[in-house]
Point group: D2
Chain length 362, copies 4
Amino acid sequence: MGSTFGQLFRITTFGESHGGGIGVVIDGCPPKIDISEADIQRELDRRRPGQSKITTRRKEEDRCEILSGVFEGKTLGTPIAILVRNKDARPEDYVDLAKKFRPSHADFTYEAKYGIRNWQGGGRASARETIGRVAAGAVARKVLGALYAKIDIVAYVAQIAEVMATVDKSKVKVRDIDANIVRCPDAVAAKRMISLIEKTREAGDSLGGVIECVARNAPAGLGEPVFDKLEADLAKAMLSLPATKGFEIGSGFSATRMRGSEHNDAFEMRRGRVRTSTNYSGGIQGGISNGEEIYFRVAFKPTATIAREQKTVTQSHDETELAARGRHDPCVLPRAVPMVEAMAALVLCDHALRQRAINRNA
Amino acid sequence: MGSTFGQLFRITTFGESHGGGIGVVIDGCPPKIDISEADIQRELDRRRPGQSKITTRRKEEDRCEILSGVFEGKTLGTPIAILVRNKDARPEDYVDLAKKFRPSHADFTYEAKYGIRNWQGGGRASARETIGRVAAGAVARKVLGALYAKIDIVAYVAQIAEVMATVDKSKVKVRDIDANIVRCPDAVAAKRMISLIEKTREAGDSLGGVIECVARNAPAGLGEPVFDKLEADLAKAMLSLPATKGFEIGSGFSATRMRGSEHNDAFEMRRGRVRTSTNYSGGIQGGISNGEEIYFRVAFKPTATIAREQKTVTQSHDETELAARGRHDPCVLPRAVPMVEAMAALVLCDHALRQRAINRNA
Amino acid sequence: MGSTFGQLFRITTFGESHGGGIGVVIDGCPPKIDISEADIQRELDRRRPGQSKITTRRKEEDRCEILSGVFEGKTLGTPIAILVRNKDARPEDYVDLAKKFRPSHADFTYEAKYGIRNWQGGGRASARETIGRVAAGAVARKVLGALYAKIDIVAYVAQIAEVMATVDKSKVKVRDIDANIVRCPDAVAAKRMISLIEKTREAGDSLGGVIECVARNAPAGLGEPVFDKLEADLAKAMLSLPATKGFEIGSGFSATRMRGSEHNDAFEMRRGRVRTSTNYSGGIQGGISNGEEIYFRVAFKPTATIAREQKTVTQSHDETELAARGRHDPCVLPRAVPMVEAMAALVLCDHALRQRAINRNA
Amino acid sequence: MGSTFGQLFRITTFGESHGGGIGVVIDGCPPKIDISEADIQRELDRRRPGQSKITTRRKEEDRCEILSGVFEGKTLGTPIAILVRNKDARPEDYVDLAKKFRPSHADFTYEAKYGIRNWQGGGRASARETIGRVAAGAVARKVLGALYAKIDIVAYVAQIAEVMATVDKSKVKVRDIDANIVRCPDAVAAKRMISLIEKTREAGDSLGGVIECVARNAPAGLGEPVFDKLEADLAKAMLSLPATKGFEIGSGFSATRMRGSEHNDAFEMRRGRVRTSTNYSGGIQGGISNGEEIYFRVAFKPTATIAREQKTVTQSHDETELAARGRHDPCVLPRAVPMVEAMAALVLCDHALRQRAINRNA
């Protein structure tokens, strides 16, 4: 009972990696928002496997179908159901997994929790599950665009293993990010990242890294203290993504070494608006957006599925070894960029509607 | 509309720093759990201001009263309301705040969101709000203890600014943590931390740091994919605490530099149980606990309230300066230790009940 | 885990008939709404025991205290906690109840559910629990008044046992209702009702009846299909009140004998607005208000507590007899009028905020 | 944002009468429950149009597909998505409806709420929406059967217009109900009902009536005071069904004329169990089931769509007339029987899981 996210713009995802399909139902979308399957497909294509040489070679077309909630190109205010059929199943790749727990995967814990699992390709714990999120995120973006004309949410790869990028988060554009297959807008770092990913795949190993995300031109006033603070909901959204290990808002862990006098964001007037001279807060103070850029960082662990032999145990509790067959991502980050953006859009959209409910001018 | 936390063990907090009082209503607590005001008071005393020379000198007694839901020392299964009266109000300390926005505080954002705020002492954004959480956390611990006899949740200060502690998280005990006023179980580091805090206060400045928390002997099976993953709910819980900037589960950001072959936790059999040989996962895989130690780290920024003059603007948008009067914590971490533990207990308790709902053997 | 009501204007009540107190936390109230303890007290006084010769003679002052969420007479947008202390406890009246289940009361079912109960005066199942609802309803009315200047919610006693009133629901005013102690605006029927209640009390028996409620000048557009239809939420609200047995919206059960051609409400234009020529729908079509009067009826059973001897069993499963001591209402309806109004206001207020979230013009 | 129902066994429905399809996502279903498409199809066939001469002649096959959450015939504990494709669209039947509001339908209110509507065949307000409920209800029944071996939920037509049936609710069986096309187990009354429905259809008119439902062998202890009382959730569930106008639990409105001494259900011991000698309570006391039969009645209005000319207005606010073309039910009750059962099963299943969460022996 954890497949629903959001209070007012509320999504419920469904689907395993194998079976009839993957999808999402969005309840609470405002009416009369323009949306088409093409709007959704664009984002799905960014998360699709097989899109480049550094992602998994599985070819999944992932065509979406809007089943309900849209009429003549506009949302009805009723639930929007979106379905993506599963294809390209190669169950023979997974036959080992019926009996052996993959290290650092969810096989063991699903078994512990439910006493049953769909062992084909990860089942519900597969990253395929994020299709529903990305589809819903595309709708959330359209709603946000209708509410705040200039809002803009972009995520990018900021680090792969030891390779760090230098990015001006205030200026980076989607086209800079999608300019290369690793989705890092620093072209020099991108090249090194791509080469590192290729080498690591050849070595039968995998890599992690950091994705940064920035939301520009979000209004002040979003976030619902004390539990549904904006950064709290963003943290939950990000840590609910597969393979994530950490979250930082604004200054993040670097704040722990600063003094208050250094970290505080002084207020000043700029062009008639209250602004801050620095933005260590990451655009959120007291759990509520202040109109500055909202930015955060998400840590991803190296992909758990690797080609090398690893020690593990069987379902019947014998020790054994396992080497992944099948096709997998040596590094999830390039494909995780649209997932991070989608979750950020979902959080902001939900909070925008929540704020409108209590504030006529929001 | 963000003051409720949890799905089944559901708490709703209320109260501003000034006004009638602060408290919490716990709905969904199982019946027949032993609980007394003393159980709750013990935890409240650990978060209380004025408990040592390195905390704020405000004296708040913070006596709790159980208003409902407990009969003859046992929970009834009905809502448990707990109230702590506000005292020691010194509104003259805050009179400046009616007109000026404190930098990196919630004054400006509350005004932006609600168009009104209780400017006395921070209102709802005051850390006093956490009284309700700590009180509810004390009840959650009792429930967890009734469900899992050996479960144990401890948090401690692991870092203050540049001072790092060395702690064996598998063995650390509450008495080691409460052995000193900074709540750091590494006695040498603790001494340096205390001295740094005192010096910083004298300089009119403030400090941040890191709190680590470990839950030992939690069962496998807790966590509800895909959105209510255990680490996702922990992340939200922690980022909802005042002054937090980051969260790491298990390996956290350090995972981003590791290879999969290094980071994966191999399964092995130990004493007839499936165990992992390492625990980079932090006790959670695929969003569900695996029976290993659950551990995480929370970043706190330096206290925003400092005695030094800072630039800011007034409510009527004039630039001005502000120096905090009143009494405040130069470093929130010692008092935040029970808050982190409370939020962790609330998350685990909620997920324990959720797991019981679908699994008769849980 | 059932003491929270509403999605956006969300109330959580707490308290047993005996213990520290009874109250409510309202989360999600819009900011800057004028509210005072006097506004709340006025409604509480209408539900208070001991207000007339036909209600219970228990004297409960039921003074409310706003603990939080209001500052200088205006709501802050933060949770509003309201507390009413318990007084006038006469536990000796209840000592029998520790061991015997009162027929048609909740003693047996609370024991079955929780394995424990506060047997003093009904505990959580006491009608005292409705104090929190009535207090919250007073706040909801203020919010509704701020949103829709002319909205008006009135309930009245329409029937006591065999005595039926004749009331023009489009014109009835609060002062007509509160003009007599039975809260029936038909003065002739009221007289007969009062006399019937007095006679029945003397006979050691009790009475039920019907309360009607009408909301006038509510806007079109409230209600959230398909589950949170306006009549569905009203039905839940009313059936959650103690002693209720039935609910009818608009034509109700009488619709079952009508033909479609007779029951359909034809649309017509009146003063430039789309109106219906009849209103069998009760102001709601397809789960959404249509701008006509919203009216409904609630059936109340005769009070379960009666002075006569009744057969029952003890907690240790011996058959026995029981006659209520203590002071009780021979008929709950006069005091239930403000409860029905409060629940109606809560439902409408919640749906008003929900509609605002998706519709800027709402 | 009202298409989700239930707290732990939580369903979200989607779909308009025209468009890609209709369906439901069930989140929170316990794992390892046997379920097949055939189990679901059986119930869908009972609500299907075109099943007999007294229902609409629309032929809809309504084949369901389980998209996720089931593996090798057992539930996984993950969301169960069920899809039924829309077919047999005859948009030409509806072309008038784009411009005219059907009396006592949801056309006007959807327009008022959302500013847009799918006018083809009723869109989201079509009774086709209940497909998702009935499908989910079939799953809920399987869960209930796994928890309580002897539980049994049956509904039947008790009244059509003036024709009343005589039914022994303690003994009635599904095969008696499905023995005739009107789903009334009193064969004599059934015959009169069928003939009345046929005559009324010929006259271009429509009929309402009452459905009764009984749940036998449900355990004591289900229901969550004070708002989520079992009868409150049943009332909401029933009033959320299309065309419903009233709800009675147990004695219902007839209680309003009884005296307490008559209405109270005396406790007695029978076969070692606490039982009641009468059951005016309808199996629920204080909002919690007491182990007796849970029974309730639901009022349905006559179908709004009739062949006769009716007065109405156009979307552009001109007065006009409208006669339904297309194929419609002259009386919804026969097809509403499985809907009532489904909603009852959903409520009981949700409360069963809620009770298990707090009570290990439940």
